[in-house]
């Protein structure tokens, strides 16, 4: 498998999810942006397409129809599958993409570090519909009001008490924070151990002391729910602690998880940029200015050329970082490059597109204006642009610069 070519499976996923994005996501994207509502109906359709909330735990069998473990030494395609799918869904709407895939953030540590019993519990919690007829979703609760970029300063605690841990603390910016049926919450089990004492816990909705907080009103990705989550003397059985035994590296587990999702996050940013680019190409093909064809103006045509350069470069970086992960190579630097550059390109391309569209883009519910708002989060969440540069620079220089 090389990074410049989609194999049959990747091409199939690209085609299927690209069609899903155009036929199902686009028509409702603006409504969910305007109303700040979760696209529950669409999420159910996505599940029917094989994008299940437990896909990561299930080894993505549901999505591809076959086991990816083709042989111990064969490269996997899971990471590239993730970037192809992410780009296509975000091409439809980044907010909807995150609503469909948001549970994956919680599923990933369960898949990576969970015992068989924990995986079963996770699947059980996400099975079937809830009382509203909605599919069930999961939330990963890591960030806190005072813990954004610096995740080593977590203040949520999990105090051992017999067979239980008692969790106390507040979580901030949690995807699916209000609606989740299952939460993976990260807390400090042993303050004296520092980073090594941090652990993830699988907590079911309804557990006394788990209190979903208020929903945030956001600039973009408004179809994806972001909320606070509070833990007040929330008792969780010790069997629900992830990484039981020697396999946990404490806080390092979350960092590995973030490393593994970065190519997909970069791919979503590429999807947004491509959406704005395609919209603009269509407008330029048919548009006029004072009676002359827009496409005959270099001022316009070269802008499109510039955007295409940026998008192609960002996509190549995303695929390289995913390809490295699939081949078992250390992709920490490349994943940060792909994520940071993707975010930069998404912001730049949507801003350029708005400028070229001019006054047309001041219309309410203009898709490019929405994509401009959506793009900004890609420079903030899953490690800000500054954090990515810190990682990249550290890998070059060997030290953290301040």
């Amino acid at each position: 498998m090389d990074i410049f070519h989609d194999n049959a499976m990747l091409a199939g996923v690209r085609q299927m999810l690209g069609a899903f994005a155009k036929q199902y996501i686009r028509p409702v994207a603006m409504k969910h942006d305007r109303e700040e509502s979760m696209p529950w109906a669409l999420m159910k359709q996505a599940q029917a397409f094989g994008m299940t909330q437990t896909a990561v735990v299930d080894g993505r069998k549901a999505l591809t129809g076959k086991d990816d473990e083709e042989g111990a030494n064969k490269p996997k395609s899971q990471s590239r599958l993730g970037v192809v799918g992410s780009e296509e869904l975000a091409y439809g709407c980044a907010g909807v993409c995150l609503a469909i895939g948001g549970s994956g953030l919680a599923a990933s540590p369960v898949a990576r570090m969970g015992t068989e019993e924990q995986k079963q519990e996770f699947r059980r919690l996400l099975k079937g519909d809830d009382e509203h007829g909605h599919i069930k979703v999961a939330a990963m609760a890591l960030s806190e009001p005072s813990t954004g970029s610096d995740i080593s300063s977590l203040s949520t605690t999990a105090r051992p008490d017999g067979d239980y841990f008692v969790i106390n603390g507040h979580k901030q910016w949690i995807t699916n924070g209000q609606s989740a049926a299952a939460y993976v919450v990260w807390a400090q089990t042993d303050p004296s151990a520092g980073r090594a004492g941090v652990r993830g816990f699988l907590v079911a909705r309804g557990t006394p002391g788990l209190i979903p907080g208020r929903k945030e009103h956001k600039l973009g990705i408004r179809a994806s729910e972001t909320a606070q989550v509070h833990f007040e003397d929330c008792r969780v059985h010790k069997d629900m602690m992830l990484g039981i035994g020697a396999s946990s590296e404490g806080l390092g587990d979350t960092k590995k998880m973030l490393d593994s999702t970065r190519p997909m996050v970069g791919a979503q940013a590429v999807g947004i940029a491509r959406a704005a680019f395609d919209y603009l190409v269509e407008r330029v093909q048919g548009g006029t200015i004072h009676g002359t064809a827009l496409k005959q103006h270099q001022h316009v045509a070269f802008e499109l050329a510039e955007m295409e350069m940026e998008i192609q470069a960002a996509r190549a970086l995303v695929h390289k970082s995913a390809w490295m992960a699939d081949h078992g190579q250390d992709n920490v630097r490349m994943a940060s490059i792909a994520k940071a550059y993707g975010a930069k390109v998404a912001q730049d391309v949507t801003a350029r597109a708005l400028t070229l569209l001019g006054e047309e883009a001041l219309e309410p519910d203009h898709p490019v204006e929405k994509w401009y708002r959506d793009a900004k989060i890609y420079d903030i969440f899953e490690g800000t642009g500054q954090i990515q540069r810190r990682i990249i620079a550290r890998s070059i220089l060997g030290v953290n610069a301040t």
């Binding site: 970029s149 200015i289 708002r373």
Partner: protein, 369 residues
């Protein structure tokens, strides 16, 4: 050359700044969420002399002598620091009032100034892409097409339209009464009473053809753009005021994030750009105050256009970077900067794409650069 403010200017800046810091900033969040400015805006701003500042005294306004665009730009810088939407409502009457006072017929003056004196609003638009159809009908003009979205058009009694008739620029005063006006609330300047006006062979009578020819229309554009540029520079400054405050309190990795060099760099670049935009806006306004003939109008139009380019870039980047400095908090509406990022867009988009305009309009185009 003197960069100092005179006593009157200093007093106006001080007064508007107090109004901005005390009232506009306090009202901005709610006005944005409600997509409507508070009723008290008209009362408080009216007392401060907004709305009628460009209407001649003889017509019931406050303008005694020549209008001062430099003072307007200074005021715009402060208003931009407060709220773009409410700033637009406070500034929108100026171009229609000045244009009609300068070139309008008695009938146009009587109609517009009666409306403004009674608390009405007027706004200004431009057919930046030649999408409207204008045809001569006697000495009047018939217009077909959609004007806007424009700030204040949802509530305005009149719109001053800059467009092209048979290849020549014209400025028309269009009464909105009885026409198809649709109120809108886009994501930027949400409280600015946006609207569109859809016309079908609507007759603008000869009395409402305010001006014909390149010079008047260029001058209206210079007024509009220098005002936009000043307000945009104010928004950029405000974005960094908020960001600096937040960064001094937010601690990550054991220190206030404002001490990280990368964020100091973002702030410094934003303030450098805002300073340039401010000076260019003031210079353009200074030229507007001195624009009397073809050459001086061309100089004002050129400076205003360039000021708007720099200010548009400055406000876009400064607001994006303010959100970046706030991080996750920047993305939610409990804090002021996500609104600023949304509000930055019209400064670049209203009145058309500045860079493109100059490419199209360059008289030397055939001869190259």
């Amino acid at each position: 050359m003197d960069f100092a403010l005179d006593d009157d200017q200093a007093l106006i800046v001080q007064t508007v700044r107090r109004f901005v810091d005390k009232d506009l900033r306090a009202w901005a969040g709610d006005a944005d969420r409600a997509a409507e400015a508070p009723g008290k805006l008209a009362t408080v701003a009216g007392d401060l002399g907004f709305y009628l500042d460009a209407v001649p005294e003889a017509a019931g306004g406050l303008l005694d002598g020549a209008y001062a665009h430099v003072t307007r730009a200074l005021r715009g810088l402060e208003l931009g620091r407060g709220c773009s939407a409410m700033a637009a409502l406070l500034e929108c009457n100026v171009e229609p009032a000045l244009a009609v006072a300068r070139w309008g017929s008695d009938a146009a003056k009587a109609e517009l100034f009666a409306s403004l004196a009674a608390g009405g609003l007027a706004t200004t638009g431009r057919d930046s892409r030649g999408a409207l159809t204008l045809t001569a009908d006697g000495d009047g003009v018939r217009v077909t097409g959609k004007i806007g979205p424009l700030p204040a058009l949802g509530r305005a009694s009149h719109v001053l339209l800059c467009a092209t008739l048979d290849g020549a620029p014209v400025a028309l005063l269009i009464a909105t009464a009885g026409q198809r006006v649709a109120a809108q609330a886009p994501s930027a300047w949400r409280a600015a009473a946006w609207g569109t006006l859809t016309l079908e062979h609507a007759l603008v009578p000869a009395s409402h053809v305010v001006a014909r020819g390149a010079d008047p229309v260029a001058l209206i554009g210079a007024w509009y753009r220098s005002s936009l540029a000043a307000r945009a520079a104010g928004v950029a400054v405000a974005a960094m005021e908020h960001a600096r405050h937040y960064a001094s309190e937010r601690v990550q990795f054991g220190q206030p994030i404002g001490r990280f060099e990368s964020l100091i760099g973002l702030r410094d670049d934003a303030l450098t750009a805002a300073t340039a935009a401010r000076l260019m806006a003031l210079h353009a306004a200074w030229l507007c105050d001195r624009a009397t003939d073809g050459a001086s109008i061309a100089a004002a139009a050129d400076a205003a256009s360039r000021a708007r380019v720099v200010a548009g870039d400055a406000v876009r980047q400064a607001t994006v970077d303010a959100v970046q400095i706030y991080g996750g908090y920047g993305f939610v509406n409990d804090y002021p900067v996500e609104k600023l990022m949304r509000d930055a867009r019209p400064y670049e988009q209203l009145f058309g794409d500045e860079r493109f305009d100059r490419v199209l309009a360059d008289p030397d185009r055939a001869g190259g650069i």
